[in-house]
């Protein structure tokens, strides 16, 4: 059994809640910083992708996990970021400015899309974002002078002046730095009043409103922040793939992002990272498992869809807190041993929390 002795109010909002966390995160930081020294090119590439998806996941997590607004079109923002980056870098802009442009444009479009949709609740926002996702994909495909149409667009290596970041190691460090920065910003946001307003809206709009939270303003803020962060991830994504085309930002990418936050664990920053790891490693595991499956199943094009769908359903039904929730439960079990109660994490049914009115 372990007790956390709090002697100061600052401890409640400290980033590291427990003393051991500093050591573990320090070790992780060292390991990641030294990754190119001990890992091969394949692993560097995979970890870069995980970092990029983690940034995108953080963006969606802020919206879906912390503000309680579901978006089924977030790949569009990934696309806006990626295309903006590709276009601006192609025009010879220095990398940091292009990155700001990608994030900023994405956030601005987030405001535009969010404003009308946020007046209505729940499912309408999901459908509005779905609609936006389809429209954006069509725009990427048709606006040929900027996006290169269905043929796609080559992306130049990130550069500041004459200094070019061509190697995969440099892109890895770029992603790592951006990922850490975004994570710190999100953590900081969440422990401040804005983040708490988001969480209050998620838990109950009515009570948040009666506590003086301006719903429309905070919802729009959450939506545009989320879109901006996903736009940043899109910019990195464009550099990682070195090629952008419309079908990369379709509905299946949006659903992949949703899968990421749900499997990782809605409402936890860790969840974005666990979900990103899951999303990147799962296809590899599936292709490994193909050798042991009967040919009719292994050769089917839909195998990955079945596994993803089944995993998603499994998590929603049996572990709605996701991978991170499972970890918290295991940790709590050991921390409270032998006093752990079975019903500690039981979900409440909310038959009466209807969105429709009596």
């Amino acid at each position: 059994m372990r007790f956390l002795l709090k002697t100061d109010y600052v401890q409640d909002i400290a980033l590291a809640r427990q003393p051991g966390q500093r050591i573990w995160y320090g070790l992780l930081a060292v390991a990641l910083a030294a990754l190119p020294l001990w890992a091969g090119a394949y692993w560097i590439s995979q970890v870069t992708l995980v970092l990029i998806y983690a940034v995108a996941g953080l963006g969606l997590m802020l919206l879906a996990g912390y503000t309680g607004l579901a978006s089924i079109g977030h790949a569009a923002f990934l696309g806006v970021g990626a295309y903006t980056q590709a276009y601006l870098v192609g025009k010879g802009w220095p990398f940091p400015l292009a990155l700001l442009g990608a994030g900023g444009l994405s956030a601005a479009i987030g405001v535009l899309v969010g404003l009308p949709a946020l007046r209505v609740k729940g499912i309408y926002l999901a459908i509005a974002t779905l609609a936006f996702g389809f429209i954006a994909e069509e725009v990427f495909a048709r606006w040929e002078s900027v996006t290169g149409g269905n043929g796609g667009l080559q992306v130049k290596a990130p550069a500041i002046g004459d200094w070019q970041l061509r190697s995969s190691e440099s892109l890895y460090y770029l992603s790592l730095v951006l990922c850490v920065l975004v994570t710190l910003c999100v953590l900081n946001l969440l422990r401040g009043s804005t983040g708490r307003a988001f969480i209050a809206m998620r838990d109950s709009e009515v009570s948040a409103q009666s506590m003086g939270i301006h719903l429309a303003r905070y919802k729009t803020l959450a939506f545009s922040l989320s879109a901006g962060i996903v736009g940043l991830a899109g910019a990195l994504y464009a550099h990682k793939l070195r090629f952008v085309s419309p079908e990369q930002f379709g509905i299946s990418q949006s659903i992949d992002l949703l899968l990421l936050v749900v499997v990782g664990g809605l409402g936890s920053v860790h969840g974005a990272f666990l979900g990103a790891i899951f999303l990147i490693t799962m296809p590899q595991l599936i292709s490994l498992a193909k050798d042991y499956l009967p040919a009719a199943i292994a050769q089917a094009t839909g195998l990955q869809a079945v596994v993803f769908g089944a995993v998603l359903m499994g998590f929603v039904m049996f572990e709605p807190q996701g991978l991170y929730g499972r970890w918290v439960k295991v940790r709590t079990y050991f921390e409270m041993f032998p006093a752990y109660r079975k019903g500690l994490f039981r979900r409440q049914k909310s038959f009466q929390k209807s969105e429709r009115l009596k």
Binding site: A64, A296, G309, L312, P320, E355
Partner: protein
């Protein structure tokens, strides 16, 4: 004349959207959840009909009937096994659950030998026949779609207005808890609603098959039925039909008069405009939550 012809084919297409949207709205009214797998249920209906004709050698009409019964049963089964355990969880949970279900169904269909990964034709006996009314050309397929939609709408109307089951469903959709206290078997009704809406989707799939052929991605058309449901106001059955027709006509006209590309996004542009102007849809009612 071109205009009328386009409107007409838009109405036929709109009826398909309307049938799928009816399924959404039925489920939404009954359980306050949104079924993102509706398009996949539609695809499943078409594949069931195709498989029965191809493998079991059944005649067309019997295959259609068996497929409809099968898909209805499947809908009820899904409700029992997947949806009921998470009843009472936030809306988003069920959205994700049905998205997962859609993935699984689509993936499993690709594993079906011979037809799974192919695009196959599933032709009704009346394929290719046309009526000529004045200068309008009206194919039997389109006529069937419209006729079936009208019949189904009348059937639903009778069900909800004049039968005990339908009135029970209305009660449950207004207030589940109160309906439960009044002795209405809410859970069983929910199963029935899922069955009915899957049946409507399956019917839409069978009707759509002569136009688009049967393939594993035909379920994506279900995503266009969301705008239909939203335009009509998500909780209104007549709204779903009107919304579906509106989407169909707008899509058909924009395909004819506007540059390429507008046809595919017309439905989505329309729904975004609708949300801006009248967020609760044509037939929806604005409501505020009481504490």
């Amino acid at each position: 004349m071109d205009f009328l012809q386009q409107v007409f084919s838009g109405i036929a297409l709109g009826c398909i959207y309307a049938l799928i949207a009816l399924g959404f709205v039925l489920i939404y009214k009954a359980t306050e959840t949104v079924n993102f797998a509706q398009g996949e249920l539609m695809m499943l209906g078409a594949f069931a009909g195709l498989a029965l004709v191809k493998f079991a050698g059944l005649p067309f009409w019997i295959a259609v009937l068996v497929a409809l019964v099968g898909i209805t049963a499947f809908g009820a089964l899904v409700e029992r096994l997947v949806i009921r355990p998470v009843l009472g969880q936030p809306q988003f949970t069920v959205v994700m659950l049905t998205i997962g279900l859609g993935y699984v169904v689509r993936g499993l269909i690709t594993m079906v030998p011979v037809i799974g990964s192919e695009t196959s034709a599933f032709d009704p006996p009346y394929k290719g026949m046309v009526w000529k009314v004045g200068g309008l050309i009206l194919s039997y397929e389109q006529g069937t779609v419209i006729a079936v939609t009208i019949v189904l709408c009348c059937a639903f109307y009778m069900l909800f207005k004049h039968t005990k089951v339908g009135i029970g469903m209305q009660a449950a959709s207004q207030n589940q808890l109160a309906a439960h206290y009044m002795g209405i078997p809410v859970k069983r009704l929910n199963g029935l609603v899922w069955g009915l809406s899957a049946g409507a989707a399956g019917l839409a799939g069978l009707l759509l098959a002569p136009f688009t052929f049967v393939h594993v991605n035909m379920g994506y058309i279900g995503l266009k039925a969301f705008p239909a449901a939203v335009i009509g106001g998500f909780g209104s059955l007549p709204g779903a039909v009107v919304g579906g027709l509106a989407i169909g006509v707008v899509e058909s006209l924009s395909g004819y008069y506007l540059p390429e590309g507008f046809k595919d996004v017309a439905a989505y542009v329309l729904v975004l405009a609708m949300l801006m102007v009248k967020p609760n849809g044509l037939f929806g009612t604005a409501t505020r939550k009481k504490v």
